[in-house]
Each structure stands twice: as C-alpha cells, then as structure tokens.
C-alpha cells in the first residue's frame, strides 16, 4: 500500500477488553487519537445493516464445508481418551500391555500431572505436579503420583487406525486406582470435615463489596424485608462439534493443527510446546467450526494428547472427544447459589440488599456478575465465593456469570414487585437509572402485549394458565487492537481480504467480505475472504463478544486504505481527481467527470495489483449494550408442564453489520436461555461422584417442539455509528423472563432451575395447603 506521509500521530490511552479463556478483563492500551475512517450514519449503508445471507451457507447446506471433524488426510489415526471412573483417586498402576498388542493401535500416551484439564489447576498443587509418572508396561517401576480429581478426567490416550480399534484399545487398558473421598455437592463441600478438593479447602472468597453494616442499618427504613435463595445447576455448552484437533506432525520441523477452536491464534503456541517445535513452525487451521459458546480456547488436554500421539506415531492424529467425554471433561457453565436479603419501600424502591453469591464451578472458579447487577440500590453488600467440588472445571460460557446473576436478581425484583403490588415493569424502572432500559422495556412490553397479562398469578379456572414475565441484561462487547487485515486487489478485478480470525457460526466471513465490498462499491460476491489460518494476519480469539468489534474496524481500515490506494493510481485516468473525491459505487469508479467500470479500473493497476493493510481503530467500535427480554408461557397445572409461547428480545448494538445474522444470533441466545430455564442441568450422584446425564438422551437441550414464536428486535434507537459485539447479551435475560412468566401464569415461584414439572406440581400443592 502507498504510505501517506503524516506527522507523528497523537496517541491516547483507552481501556479495552482482553479475553483470556473467554473471560474479559479490561486492560489499558495506547491508540491513535485521530479521526481516521468513519462508518457514517447507520441508515446510509448499501450492504451493511442489511439482511445478508451467509457467504459460507452454500457450502454448509451441502455438506461441503470442512470442519476439523471432517479432515481426513491419508494415514490418519483416530485418538481416544481413557477417563477416570472415579471423582477423586490416586492412580496406582496403568497397564497398557493388552492394548499395545491390538493390531492397529499405533500410540499410547499418558497424562502427567502437568496435563491437567484447563482451569483445574491451583498454585498450591503446582509443586506436587512437577513430576511425571511413568507409564507403559506393568513392569515399569511406579515412581510418581498422579491424582485425578473428577470423574471423567483423562488419564491415558490412544491412537489407532480406526475409531473402532481405538475404542478397543481404551477398553483393554487397565488402570488401578486408590479411591479417595470426594464431594460433588456444594452443600456438602462447605460442611465441616468435607473432603478437600484442593489442599487449602473448598471455599475461595472472590470479592467483597459494599458496607454490610450500612445495609443492615438501612433495612430499618424498608417497608418490606424479603429473603430468598436462588440456584442454577451446572450447564453444558453442548457444542455439536465436540472439542478436538487433528495434529499432523510426521517428524521434521513443522506441523499443522486443524482445531475446533474459538481462537486460531491460541493453538500454535500450545501445540509447539507439546511437539517441541518453534511456535512459528505450527500452523493452525480453522476453516469452519461447529460451535464453541466459550468452551474452546487453547488446545486443551485433548489437544496435548493429540500432539503427543502424533509425535509418537509420526502420523496425523485426529482426537475429537466423544459426546460423553464432552459432557464429562470439556468444561461447563458454573452453577450458582445466591442468597439475598432485600429491603424495599412501599413505593417500590429497593433500598438495601445483602447478597451472598456462590459460584459453583467444580474445580474451576465459576463466575457470576456482581449483584445488584444492573440495578441501582443505594445500599448493598455482596460477597462472591467459589465453592469447589470434584467436577470438571467451569469455563467461559456465552456471557459468563451473567445469566445466573440476571436470573437471581430478576427473580428477586419480580418477587418484590408482587410483594409491594407494583407492576413488574414499572417496579424495574423505579430501580433502573439508565434510560435505555426504560425504552427497551416499553418496546418489549408493547411487542408482547404486556397489558394482556394475567393480573392475578394463577388466576382463572382453565388448567392451561398463561403468564408473562420480563428480565434484563447487560454486556460489554467492545474490541481491542489485535487484528491485522490485508486487502488485495488484482489486475483482473478480483478482490480478497485476509485475516486469521475464525467464524464460529457468527457470520464473521460474511461481514468481512461485506465491509470490503461496500467500501469498494462492489457486490458481496465480488470479494473472497480468507480466514481461519494462523499464517494469515493476527486476530483475537472469539470470547466476550469481542471478535466483531476488534475485527470489523481493522477490515474497514484496510478497505479504506485499499480504496485510497487505487484512487491514487487511477487519478491520472480520472482527470486528475483527488483520491478522496473519486467515488466507488455500483461497480464503477468515477471522478473528474469520467467513469470506469471496476474491471477497467483494475486493469490500470500495476501488475502486482494492490495490497493494503488495516488495523483496529478505536473510534469504529464501542462497548456497552443493554438487552431486555419478555416471555409468555403456558403452564398446565394438571401435568406441571411449561411451554413457552412467545419470546421477545430487544437488543441495542450500535451499527448492525448484518441484520439477518444478528437476528439469528438473538434467536439462538433466547433458545439457549430457554433451555436453562426449563430443561438443562447436570445431575450428579453425590455418593458415587458421577454425572448421571452425560448425553443428549438425558441432558435435555431445546428441540423443535419447545421453540416458541421468537421475536428478535434490533434496537435502532441506538444511534452509535460503531460496531459492538452482540453474541452474548441475548442469552442473558430470557431465563429470568421465563421464570417470571411461569410465576405470573400459575403462581408458583421456582427458585431452583430448571423448572421441571415436578417443581411446578410441588409448588401448586404447597400453595393449596397453605
């Protein structure tokens, strides 16, 4: 690209999200403090902010898109892991001799104590983890110690020429354990003398905020004091493509890793370490990806195994977790247990709140947004505490910690509104400062027909009872400066845009093309995008809804630079028009009273064509979104069955790049949130320490019968001419909206999710006996 001579740029410091394993923290960076390119008014785009079909859709609907799971190079071996059947145990002996004798088994490797499953590590243990254990034949001297801390923790991995033989090998490996005491329920884990999950115990304080004494004092001014506890179980991401990698390393000094990941650039470093190569010698490829929802960052223990197996066998090894592995060891959304004491005045102001928020993340910390979340409560005190159990470590899951927090506070607000007899929408407004929430509440209420709502919960004689509820969420969604984008224009008129980012199904490919097409006045299919490869320009991992706000500005910047660069070259042909004044639209380049077709214009370029680069520009993105959901449900008080009828989600988003994809994503958020409300939850056997529902037969995700009418609404009152990520917010409020609608329908307040029929029936019978 043609470098423009410019005086040294003015800099400013801003805070941007940095996402580690899907969880955001804010860091300060220095960026250019200058105008730079702008998007222009949201209503003025030719391609952006329209309904764009996905550019990769034809490949996906015909089975031609190749996911990691579909890669199948010659000589491929299939990997499998052997999991611990115990929740807490010491590995005494591993005998792989029988497995080694099975024809077709090519490699067997064992986990060392450093190969812990992501997140299940503690500083206190690191010292004891330094040593590896030997493994292999029964005769190998048993020297070191290996402790497994959840049922499902991988201990050994195998690779064989077919998946069937790999399964045989798994069955032929004999592992002897000394079983240790375990604990898998939070209530048990906090008891005196409970088995210790970590050497320093099961409780880990995370945060204290506010003044407890002041809160206690202000309860005196409250007209109503109310206490309640709310719980949500551990949930599963349930990505349809399981976690896994295909590691192609046949010796030598380079390797390729096909990864089902949310972070193309999180792979090479991890793999290089395992393979003993330089990071630059490993290429990560992520062409298409079958869902992540926060669970797929880094190479993971399955990837480490795949590397070791490939290295040992000198052959490509594909190790995709089985569905059962996926449930047992691929992370989870932490459960929650929230205890509230709230004081409210008769006119509907919540003036005091005490909150104890337990995060139930198994070996991990779990997460929970701090209370009172989005509400303004003058006096509050909260404590957030992790309770550890012998379960796999929680990971980020779509809006980590927010649906739990929203469900808790939105249930509480709802209960309080009924206690003081104020309409739940009005009650919320009284405790919300931000006007955007007010506007979105009004819009949602209109859309669902809030005035039709049941005025007396559980009223009427029809056994099918309808009710409505609402709830609110918030998210960041800003970007950061990692992306490096390259736009190339050839003399034949072809245009490409390249960056190493990944498309999780969020539509990254589509808007990447669209931004370039719009800038150059072309159609979306005139541009080809190259993504999903770590040899292309750097890009951030897809966590915290930061992808779009990080990438789109860099794509725009590259496209603008490409446009200016062509314009400069064409200026002599266009009557010497100034580059900024040459227009690009509808496949034509015009200036100085002359017009060229795109082909004619490109033919005039130098033989190498044009290459332009782009970087993140902070003014092209923003952060901070709201989001309101309304739900209408029908509860059958004879069976206890709840059916969602209609859900409406109102979402602000700044500049919507692709309305069609955004609506789809909002639908998806509502559906997953509905799953949380009505169906999903890990079920553990406390005595055995085992998960009882590690499969889709028993862990219920929403299916075609459970889908209500869904109304995804983009809040165009948001006039910010800036891109904001919006993958996460739509999963936050729907769960609370459904729970509140159930109460409005039948008068049963379910404080522990999911709302299964037994809880409704139990609630109804309690109410009747009262």
């Amino acid at each position: 690209m043609q470098q423009q001579q410019a005086p040294p740029k003015k800099k400013k410091k801003i805070k941007v999200p940095k996402v580690i394993n899907g969880v955001e923290t804010m860091v300060e960076v220095e960026v250019d403090d200058e105008g730079g390119p702008v998007w222009g008014p949201n209503g003025k785009h030719a391609i952006l902010n329209h309904r764009l079909t996905r550019v990769d859709a034809p490949l996906k609907v015909s089975g031609a898109a190749e996911y990691t799971y579909d890669k199948n190079p010659p000589g491929l071996l299939y990997g499998r892991v052997v999991r611990s059947p115990y929740a807490h145990a010491r590995v005494i002996r591993i005998d792989t001799s029988a497995a080694q004798r099975i024809a077709g088994v090519k490699a067997i490797v064992g986990a060392t104590n450093e190969d812990v499953v992501e997140g299940s590590n503690r500083a206190a243990d690191v010292a004891e983890k330094k040593d590896n254990m030997d493994l292999g034949s029964a005769k190998a001297p048993q020297k070191k110690e290996r402790i497994v801390r959840f049922a499902g923790e991988p201990v050994v991995a195998v690779a064989a020429i077919t998946p069937e033989i790999a399964d045989d090998a798994v069955r032929a490996i004999k592992i002897e354990y000394e079983v240790l005491p375990h604990v898998v329920r939070a209530e048990d884990a906090i008891k005196e003398g409970a088995p210790k999950v970590y050497p320093d115990g099961n409780l880990e304080p995370k945060e204290k905020r506010g003044d407890a004494a002041k809160v206690e004092a202000s309860f005196k001014e409250a007209d109503v004091i109310f206490e309640a506890e709310y719980r949500t179980p551990i949930l599963h991401h349930s990505c349809l493509e399981t976690h896994g990698n295909l590691v192609d390393y046949r010796g030598g000094d380079s390797a390729t890793v096909y990864a089902s990941t949310q972070g193309t650039f999180t792979i090479p470093g991890d793999a290089a370490k395992e393979l003993g190569l330089k990071e630059s010698a490993v290429t990560a490829v992520v062409e298409h990806m079958g869902g992540g929802f926060g669970s797929k960052f880094g190479i993971g223990i399955e990837g480490k195994f795949a590397c070791q197996l490939s290295k040992q066998a000198k052959a490509p090894v594909k190790l995709m977790l089985t569905r059962k592995d996926e449930f047992l060891l691929a992370g989870n959304r932490s459960g929650s247990w929230q205890k509230f004491k709230a004081g409210v005045t008769r006119d509907g102001k919540v003036i005091a709140l005490l909150a104890t928020q337990y995060q139930l993340g198994g070996l991990g910390d779990g997460s929970q947004a701090g209370q009172p979340y989005i509400y303004t409560v003058p006096n509050f005190y909260r404590e957030r505490i992790s309770i550890h159990t012998n379960e796999d470590a929680s990971r980020a899951m779509r809006a980590p910690g927010h649906p739990q927090a929203s469900f808790g506070i939105e249930s509480l607000m709802d209960e309080l509104s009924y206690k003081v007899g104020i309409d739940p929408v009005e009650f919320r407004k009284k405790n919300l400062k931000d006007e955007v929430y007010h506007r979105q509440l009004d819009r949602g209420a209109r859309e669902i027909g809030w005035e039709r709502r049941n005025k007396t919960p559980g009223g009427g004689s029809n056994p099918l009872k309808r009710g409505m509820g609402c709830a609110i969420g918030t998210w960041g969604g800003g970007g950061g400066p990692q992306c490096k984008v390259e736009v190339g224009i050839a003399r034949d008129g072809s245009v490409s845009v390249a960056v190493g980012t990944q498309d999780l199904g969020t539509g990254t490919r589509t808007y990447t093309r669209a931004i370039v097409a719009e800038e150059l006045g072309l159609q979306i299919n005139d541009v080809v995008e190259h993504i999903g490869n770590s040899k292309l320009g750097a890009a951030n991992a897809s966590g915290g809804s930061t992808t779009t706000a990080s990438l789109a500005p860099a794509v725009k910047d590259a496209a603008v630079n490409a446009r200016l660069s062509i314009a400069e070259k064409l200026s002599p042909l266009l009557g010497g028009a100034k580059p900024e004044e040459i227009s690009f639209s509808q496949g034509r380049v015009a200036g100085g009273g002359k017009t060229l077709t795109w082909k004619q214009a490109c033919a005039a370029l130098p033989s190498a064509g044009i290459t332009a680069h782009g970087e993140w520009k902070s003014n092209l993105q923003s952060r901070g979104v709201h989001g309101v959901c309304f739900a209408e449900v029908e509860v059958d008080v004879e069976t206890g069955h709840t059916r969602a009828i209609k859900m409406v989600h109102v979402q602000d988003i700044g500049l919507p790049l692709n309305r069609l994809a955004i609506e789809s994503q909002i639908n998806g958020g509502m559906i997953q949130s509905l799953g949380m409300a009505l169906f999903e939850g890990r079920v553990m056997d406390a005595a055995l320490g085992l998960q009882l529902n590690p499969g889709f037969g028993d862990y219920k995700i929403p299916g075609s019968f459970e889908i209500p009418e869904l109304v995804p609404l983009i809040d165009d009152e948001d006039k910010r001419e800036a891109v904001i990520g919006v993958g996460e917010p739509s999963i936050i409020p729907a769960v609370g909206a459904v729970v509140n609608a159930v109460f409005n329908a039948c008068g049963v307040r379910v404080r522990e999710l999911p709302i299964t029929p037994d809880k409704i029936l139990m609630g109804l019978s309690d109410r009747r006996t009262v």
Binding site: K60, V61, G63, A64, E164, R171, L240, G291, G703
Partner: protein, 217 residues
C-alpha cells in the same frame, strides 16, 4: 426420530432402538447373515471382557468388503462388521463424505441423518453391512453448493444455519419429508424435525426455510 411420521398423528412409535448395544447385536446379526456372526461375537466379547481379563493379543477386527450405493454410485468399501454406516461413509470410503456428522453416536441428535431408500435414518445406528443393497443418499447427493436443491436454497435464503454442524441433518430430514408431504403446516415441520438438535438455535428459521421450500417446489 425423523422418519416414519408422515401424516400420522404424534403417537406413532419410532422405529429406532435407543439401546445401541441391543441394536448392534440383534439387527446386526440378523441383517448381516451368518458369515458375520463370528466377527460380531468376537468384538462383542472383547468389549465385555477386556475390562477384567487379559484377552490376549488378537486383533478384534477383520474387514469385509461390501458395496454401498451412495448418491447413485456403487462404491466398494472395506469395513468391520461392527462399523456403523456413518463411520463407513465418513472414514472408510476411499473418497470420504463429510456431510453426515457424528455428534452423539447414539441416535439422539440427527446430525448423521442419511436417506436409506428415501427414508431418513440415523446412520450412527445403522451398521454399514446392513446398508448393502440399499440406495443411500447423503446431503451431498441432494445438491451441491453450485446447484442446491430447494431446501438447501431456502436454508441459505432464510439464514437457517449458524455454525452449520447440524445443518446437513436438518436439510436431509426436511428434503425427505417434503417428498412425502409437499404441503406441510408449521406443526408438521416441527414434528418432522423432532429428531434433529441444533445448539446454535436455528429452529425458527429452519421451520421458515422448510415452509418456503415447500411453497417453491
């Protein structure tokens, strides 16, 4: 499951057996003929015994060559008697297919759906040897990116996919269903899709696409 329901009301029993092991033993042996019994027994034994006893060094596999009629082509493929149709298509064909996906391997998700003599089946629950002599159609056989069938085109148009991993299963199920019921209601489309899961949450648009495709054809 996605097959068999047609215009009949909801109650109709599905014909797939969720107990996979029983399926392998029962249907596998009955369908594959006597020559395969030994192999099946061998592998089943290895399964049940290896946890406790040292079964020795014997390979538990012996491959057989079969001919599968896939998307109109007869293709010879070497499989174990226990190899599922899904694995045979994805792993054993000399030019493997990528459309049918393995997601649960136990008949709960529908991502592996293929058509067997025009009827949708979960290919993870069918043994490859049982598919001999049947006409198999995968999503690749319904249309290509350049020439999509009406369901595929409607999926693109209505954004009925996000990550797309469930999509081949839905497309296959719906394509077969519209042949049987060219003019379905929304409720009938839901019913047709009840054997397919989507985690990204594309259902509303899958329904829209199915209804739109029905209108067009």
């Amino acid at each position: 499951m996605a097959d068999e329901q047609d215009k009949k009301p909801l109650k109709k029993k599905s014909n797939h057996d969720p107990g996979r092991r029983r399926f392998l033993k029962g249907v596998g042996i009955a369908g594959a003929g006597a020559a395969l019994v030994d192999h099946l027994t061998l592998s089943t034994d290895a399964k049940t015994e290896s946890a406790t006893a040292d079964t020795g060094a014997k390979p538990v596999t012996r491959n057989v060559n079969i001919i599968l009629d896939v998307n109109g082509q007869k293709r010879t493929v070497s499989v174990e008697p226990r190899t599922t149709l899904l694995n045979a298509l994805r792993n054993n064909l000399d030019k493997p297919l990528t459309g049918p996906k393995l997601v649960c391997d136990m008949g709960t998700c529908g991502a592996c759906t293929v058509l067997m003599d025009g009827k949708p089946v979960y290919s993870c629950l069918v043994l490859a040897v049982d598919a001999v002599g049947k006409k198999l159609t995968t999503v690749e056989g319904l249309g290509t990116p350049e020439s999509m069938n009406s369901v595929q085109a409607a999926f693109v148009e209505h954004d009925a996919l996000m990550c797309g991993f469930c999509t081949p299963g839905f497309v296959t199920t719906i394509s077969a269903y519209l042949k049987k019921n060219p003019n379905p209601t929304l409720e009938e489309v839901r019913e047709a899709c009840k054997g397919n899961f989507c985690r990204c949450g594309t259902y509303p648009r899958v329904f829209e696409a199915a209804l739109a495709a029905a209108k067009k054809s």
